[in-house]
Symmetry: C2
Subunit: 200 residues, 2 copies
């Protein structure tokens, strides 16, 4: 004897999510039974279609339901300044601060020789392409202060040598080893403001 | 700027689950993007249909996709012994032990005057009905040792007075493998009270 099939399926699916083990999955599956059907229909539709509907912006690699994301297609934003971030979550974090009015570039990872992640496995080439085509004036590197972040940052800096582009880096103020997503908006805002020019 | 609509919907849906806040929901929604489509289709189907497909067994109130659950329709099990539990999760726990071969009764809660939960809000009437109709011989009360558990237990005991049914309660005591020094005094008191003679 075990749970009915549909509940068993639900448990297995919840277990595929990060940080969710057997017991939690069981609790979530049973809790799903108490959610109203209207919400469940939206939930099911979102789960079934999230991969199909969510593309990457062809310019900045951010999550988007269209070819170009909201930010890249917004002419009120400064499209000549690019804030380079590790993943789409970071874009949302900066947007919550609200003071940054430039564009972004989502790398989808950081260079990490130890984990075998080389520059061509993250979206650095796309960034370079954009810089060459779009008359970019400033690149703000906003990756977490870790070995991988520093490596990525130095690699980008090296690539942009002699390109007459200002390259800056968000200020330290973010504690080393901290995860970007747990930093409060004020710290992020200060870090943005205190960015340091690292090219001559 | 925020996440694309489908991801935003996913975040809102995950947030409806117990113990999941904004940050975790965000992480789960983005992680959903990395699950393969086949699993997502099963996930979506389960979410959409779990409420429609999952009924309660008309006899024991356990979760079931049929009118009668697997256990109640199993003639190899002792249908004259009923183990009374708080919720469907407990049925699965006892089934994992594997030694119990009787039937169950899922109360769906415990009597709790403080929280305004009265006997008619849990499935005690269904239990009584079953006892009157099915020639039940033993009731094993297997609810957690708390004020609510004791109240429910006493209430059932009172109901079954003069019905010539054996009523028993699972033993409360020191769990196997536990360190004596970490056991609270109430548990020790119960363990002493419920001591078992081991000499002839």
């Amino acid at each position: 004897m075990n749970y009915p099939l549909t509940i068993r399926n639900l448990i297995e699916c919840y277990k595929k999510l990060p940080g969710i083990g057997e017991k939690t999955a069981e609790r979530l599956a049973l809790a799903t039974l108490s959610i109203n059907q209207e919400t469940l229909d939206i939930f099911a539709d979102s789960v079934a279609n999230v991969k199909k509907r969510t593309k990457r912006c062809r310019k900045c690699n951010n999550l988007s339901e269209n070819d170009l994301c909201e930010i890249c297609s917004d002419q009120n934003r400064d499209q000549k300044t690019i804030c380079v971030v590790e993943d789409p979550k970071n874009v949302i974090l900066f947007e919550k601060v609200g003071t940054y009015k430039g564009a972004y570039h989502v790398l989808d990872g950081l260079i990490s020789p130890l984990d075998g992640i080389t520059p061509d496995q993250i979206k650095i080439n796309l960034l370079l392409e954009r810089i060459n085509n779009d008359n970019i004036e400033e690149i703000i590197i906003a990756v977490k202060p870790s070995i991988e972040g520093e490596t990525t940052s130095l690699y980008i800096l090296k690539l942009l040598e002699n390109k007459n582009i200002t390259v800056s880096k968000i200020a330290h103020g973010i504690p080393l080893g901290a995860d970007m997503e747990y930093i409060d908006s004020l710290t992020l805002e200060m870090a943005l403001e205190d960015r340091k020019k690292i090219s001559e």
